[in-house]
């Protein structure tokens, strides 16, 4: 799959398994769809509570129930017009890598960065593993410098001071 279109329907998605479970590719796309829909409960339902999450650039690591739910909730709250655009998916039977652009206009503080109503567009790649129809881990790659630059942060040790 290679598209720059926002995910609006999963009807075309490969990955629905015969037993009704979905593989990593389908779950990854569904996760993007639900985050774009600001459906945090729907997103959470795709992920095991003890799934390992690693949003390394944000310094967020741990289990989904302890760290991931808050991260997604904060993301959705801080960017009311959040949009995730999927560009490509590489997947095997257990894992999927999705390349996405995360866009939105800041409407609240995020990761300690004061809200200045600035716009972000940050290219990211997420590695998602799945088993038995649920996401078992998420590792995300992006450049935090790009996020800081777009939100007006000048120094890595003073992220609450924006200009």
């Amino acid at each position: 799959m290679s598209t720059r279109a926002q995910v609006t329907s999963l009807a075309h998605v490969r990955g629905a398994l015969p037993d009704g479970h979905q593989d990593a590719r389908a779950l990854a796309l569904k996760l993007c769809e639900r985050l774009s829909d600001r459906d945090s409960e729907g997103a959470n339902a795709l992920i095991l509570a003890d799934a390992a999450v690693d949003f390394g650039p944000a310094g967020t690591r741990g289990t989904f129930s302890e760290e991931g739910t808050k991260f997604f909730c904060d993301l959705i709250s801080a960017f009311p017009d959040l949009r995730l655009t999927v560009h490509s998916v590489v997947a095997d039977s257990e894992a999927a890598v999705i390349e996405i652009t995360v866009e939105g206009t800041q409407g609240a503080d995020f990761l300690g960065i004061h809200n200045q109503e600035k716009h972000i567009d940050v290219d990211q790649a997420w590695v998602i593993t799945a088993a038995h129809g649920r996401i078992t881990s998420i590792r995300a790659y992006w450049c935090q410098t790009q996020l800081y630059r777009r939100l007006g942060v000048k120094r890595l040790d003073q992220i609450s001071i924006t200009g």
Binding site: V90, D92, A95, A96, V97, E99, T145, Y148, V153, D157
Partner: protein, 150 residues
């Protein structure tokens, strides 16, 4: 190209990177191979310069620059995900100790370790024709002792 072959090409790419053999890295790509380093962007007054171009131009310059600034630069491939269409994603930890300035970061002799994700496409001739890399420059700059965003 079979899945195994595409993965082998990508592993060869990182073997060459580990031995600082940039010519070999480029030889594994076809002449028109695209390269984009997602974190690379330089904001000027009128435009933004991105790390986007060909592997044998932009890629070569960025890889050589890293090797020159970090003479012990190395990499460790931690996971590879591939499909049957020549797409290969590789999670790789890149590390090194700074000996010379790197971009705007002056050398304080510090070391960094940075998780990267590369997405390759290997064509039917066994050549890489597309590379995109994702990593966190903020993490690298902080480890090197540079706390300015730009």
């Amino acid at each position: 190209m079979s899945r195994v072959d595409a993965t082998e090409v990508v592993n060869s790419f990182f073997d060459a990177y580990r031995t600082h053999d940039v010519e070999r890295m480029v030889d594994l790509c076809n002449e028109m191979a695209r390269f984009r380093s997602m974190p690379f962007e330089v904001w000027r007054k009128q435009r933004v310069i991105r790390g986007d171009g060909k592997a044998n131009t932009v890629g070569k310059i960025l890889w050589r620059g890293l090797i020159e600034s970090f003479p012990d630069l190395t990499n460790r491939v931690t996971k590879i995900i591939s499909d049957n269409d020549g797409n290969v994603a590789a999670e790789v930890v890149i590390s090194g100790t700074q000996a010379k300035p790197w971009s705007s970061v002056r050398s304080q002799g510090r070391s960094f370790q940075s998780p990267h994700l590369f997405v390759f496409h290997v064509n039917a001739d066994g050549k890489i024709d597309n590379i995109r890399s994702y990593s966190d420059n903020a993490g690298v700059r902080a480890q090197l002792g540079c706390l300015d965003v730009d």
